[in-house]
Symmetry: D2
Subunit: 345 residues, 4 copies
């Protein structure tokens, strides 16, 4: 059994990691930290876990990594940054679910996050933890930068097209719709029930921090710099994230060709499902699962591809992907502990 | 008092018309038809209206228009088509909330609705009932084709740009998100609570029938044929419709310039609210009201305008706009009976 | 025009008061206070009100009442207590929506609210503002203690039975279900969307502070002390409150007799609707309205009456009832500004 | 591997059985019937299951049981009744999720279901499948009548008290709140999203068919006939069922005593969790799990016990309990395939 710890275990991402790891056949939870709930029983804070785990939350201290083979960090952005080098000193490997090590360029990080990146050496070792793109590097990594939820859905939708010459790379628009759990568990006015129920709204248009993360990955695939318009929206539901992605064709292409191409690209991916032609992605079908469903359409009149990509923001968009990365790092079956179907209804 | 009738009064659009008209100071409801509920008391079918109306639903017959000054038709598509010429024979004026008289071209109608338009003469008299574009014609019209909900939100967002030379008219993408009431009151699997709760999904991508309606109006404004990609999505909420509209700039433009321009264009419009720069539209703030809120943003990195446009699909997207049209036809204040603020929370 | 002020105008109750009063034909808002938003435009804080009001929020100061004929207090419990005597010194009348003046007995107040009541003289002048019970006193009152949302629904359901000898007064159970807006606008973990969506839960069983308020009013009607079990529950919806109330019969009674009796009792009440026999109350039909719908049933096998009582917690349960009280105090039609039907769907 | 079939596999209960059984380590699905979808791939009908199952729906025929060790029936009430005797002729054992074999008395069945029970001999062999009460009989049974969702929550809450002399058995009121999925997947107006969203309503008060089922089981425990008032309510959520149960004490009892007693009674039950004193049940914490959470409270002023009992209506209230019964019948660990924690948020 591998010993795993979760730092910041009382947020929604941390909680989802607990849920997945308590049933994981190869992992044993040895540490759960929470500043808010230190000293309290996990099952008292989260009654959903009663019967599944019998531990207390502890405070995060620098030695947290000593007793772990794998340490998951579900901490606020910029908190993880300065802790990771210390955690990596021993034998522990780290999967960081914050944004701190996702962007390869410290300059790009500073531009979008408004603070300098002061752990550049560690940054250079981090692997962007999207298994569909970086599986081999993930296996050998000591530090994984687990992708954001929006980037996971958008990159998986776009990746196959980035290596073709079928599309206009300057025309990409990603219009994403996320459930409220993506905003985290810290109480705020904007995530109060009465504020966001019966409400669909846009936020962070053209300025959201997940933009450079998407651009970094698709630019690498395309072999040149690609800029996109990324538009997040808040939906009145707890979980689920749907991205509708638009990109102009520069040649004629049939839906059948597109469908065959995507199926070929993703044929060995256990968690990517290409929908039947004519079907569009629906967050309901991936709820609580690690799947990413991708739907394909061509707007023939406008010579434009329309991709729909649905994930559960807390699973494939966060904790599930982190466990998938752990499985790869441990050399075990990538789907271990992650084989739940989507929960519908 | 003007005598008004509603044919098809037991669907959500019909019900919303009743709600608005029972409190309208200049209108008196003289007929409410419903094939499903004929002979039943309105307040027994809709207990929300108990105390507000004391009438029965009747069956629709060809003489329905005889006792009305204004007849609202909230009937299924293609049902209205053949009834309207008869209704117009007397003095009654008709506001048709179906799609049957919205498209000026019978060929375009047949292409998108898969049936021929067999009332071409009547069609030629119909006025597209978007007051912000066709106010003067509406005042004099005998037949109003009340706009669809999606077109209302998209056209109001795009209209000001159509008469400029700032944008690439071939680059328009409208990504729209609608509440479930837009699908009507007829029971179906896709609108069952357990199917669409906690679900965000796309449907009708590149094929939805509201596309030609949008294109007709913005092409007229632009003075040339404009094609758009229109993508409807279903949201887990009852009411509200948000359109996020993308269009490429062909010159530099600041957000301040854009804001001033939109405010100038809409300065006399009682139901269009331009949001503060930096604010994006939210369906919650227009709920149950006749407002259309428009938010403006420029994606400078990509030289692209992003418009957000929110309405209540049953009010400004249907019944409220129909009453606004009625007010214009009657020569009374356009806001009569429609001055409710958005209902938040 | 009567000059009205609202202290604490940026909570949900205050906001609902604004919504109702901006359209009230006899009232003119002259002051809106909010410590959180002082100096900000109301429509910037609540974009739903743009176009309906053009004012700023101000800070609450002791002279707030000087320029008002009626002052509504939507302040936290125990804050209102010490402010009211000062407000009453001039000609202003006060409608307090907190619990501070609802309980006639300072001892009972202290027992349930854990603080002493230190304005006993003012307390003795307060009138409990449930028009269906205390209409004549309300007309003449200078200080109204506006009822709580739960008590409004439970008292209106039970009141007619309290003056009969049909029931066992020791057997009353009120099981109430409320939407989340009843918990107020202050961010908290329990009212976060992701916590209370898809969740039905009980809270405050046998200990909720609305219990003595209900008992006070029904005991007065019964002419003897009546104790009840009151159980509040939190529902995954924004607005609406349903109480299901159980009381044992001590004689045989038919549903027809019960129905006729309730209709007789409430025949002149503009905001109480007795549902058809066999119909049960549904919060959806009273949404955004000032109605209280009451459904009647008899469990013949158990000789038990089951009452269902639905209100909108922010309207008849708070702001709407406060305006109803204001109308009575002003000697104008009780329904002025409150005649909206329930908003369905 | 045990061969299992599901008749009526395309309703919500059938779908939930598929979800649980595809991951069950001891079961192999060999037949899935659906009249609506026969001949279609399961994953085309339910995209959530893509990647988890590769089968078609078939039509139900009398030989359905021949190739199964265990046959689950998720058919409409009264359909199962006449099919079961045939299915039992071979070696197959049957778990019927309808109400047809739950009531021991054919007379009681006829009274509440309005049709005669015409399979009395088979009825006499059926075991009521609530493991907490009938575990030993279930192990040996050939026909299980799987309990209703409401009865499961109410019986588990009340059972411990039925064998004491602490309570007044004539005073029981069960006020239950269910998510919409409990009404099944067949489209109907009452379960349309726009009808039941933002709506809490009562239905079937004093007449619901689950009443005699509850009474049968608690009467058996009490050793005398017990009648209850049972009140179901519909909640705006997909899954989850909370019952709040009231019963008068006939002696003094502390919450501590009650807590110790319930913990003792349920100490070996893998799926019953007694909440900490002062905590009340919340459907969110049992979502998608087989747990029943029970909260305890004493209303001292009224000498009344208040129990709260939460389950997932489709799991412990239907499919999960059926799998639990299957595990018992197979002699394997009762929790096999059912050990998921509650899914929160």
């Amino acid at each position: 059994m591998v010993k795993v710890g979760i730092a910041g275990a009382s947020g929604y991402t941390g909680l989802e990691l607990i849920r997945l790891l308590v049933k994981h056949p190869e992992a044993q939870i040895t540490a759960l930290t929470s500043e808010t709930y230190q000293g309290q029983r996990v099952a008292d804070v989260f009654p959903s876990l009663a019967g599944s785990i019998d531990r207390d939350f502890s405070s995060l201290d620098p030695s947290a990594a000593e007793d772990c083979d794998i340490l998951f960090l579900a901490l606020p952005h910029t908190t993880a940054m300065n802790l990771v080098p210390g955690f990596l000193k021993g034998n522990c490997r780290v999967i960081d679910l914050s944004a701190d090590f996702r962007l390869k360029s410290p300059q790009v990080f500073e531009t979008w996050y408004s603070v300098p990146h002061n752990q550049r050496e560690t940054l250079s070792q981090a692997v962007y933890g999207l298994p569909e793109l970086h599986r081999e590097q993930i296996r050998k990594a000591r530090l994984i930068a687990n992708p954001g939820c929006y980037p996971t859905s958008v990159i998986l939708a776009l990746a196959p097209l980035m290596t073709t010459d079928w599309v206009d790379l300057g025309s990409i628009v990603a219009d994403s719709k996320s459930g409220v759990s993506g905003a985290g568990r810290k109480p705020s006015l904007t995530t109060q029930f009465a504020e966001c129920n019966e409400a669909v709204s846009a936020y962070g248009l053209a300025t959201h921090r997940h933009t450079p993360e998407i651009e970094q990955e698709i630019s690498t695939l395309a072999g040149r710099e690609v800029c996109i318009t990324f538009s997040p929206h808040l939906m009145p539901m707890t979980r689920g994230l749907l991205s509708t992605v638009y990109i102009n064709l520069v040649r004629d292409l049939t839906l059948g060709e597109l469908d065959r191409y995507y199926r070929e690209i993703y044929k060995n991916e256990p968690f990517v499902r290409i929908l039947n032609p004519g079907a569009f992605a629906n967050t309901h079908y991936v709820a609580h699962s690690n799947y990413c469903d991708i739907g394909l359409q061509i707007d023939v009149r406008n010579r434009r591809i329309i991709l729909t990509s649905a994930i559960d923001n807390l699973v494939k968009g966060a904790a599930g992907q982190a466990v998938q990365n752990m499985n790869l790092m441990l050399g075990i079956d990538e789907t271990t502990g992650l084989d739940s179907p989507g929960l519908f209804p």
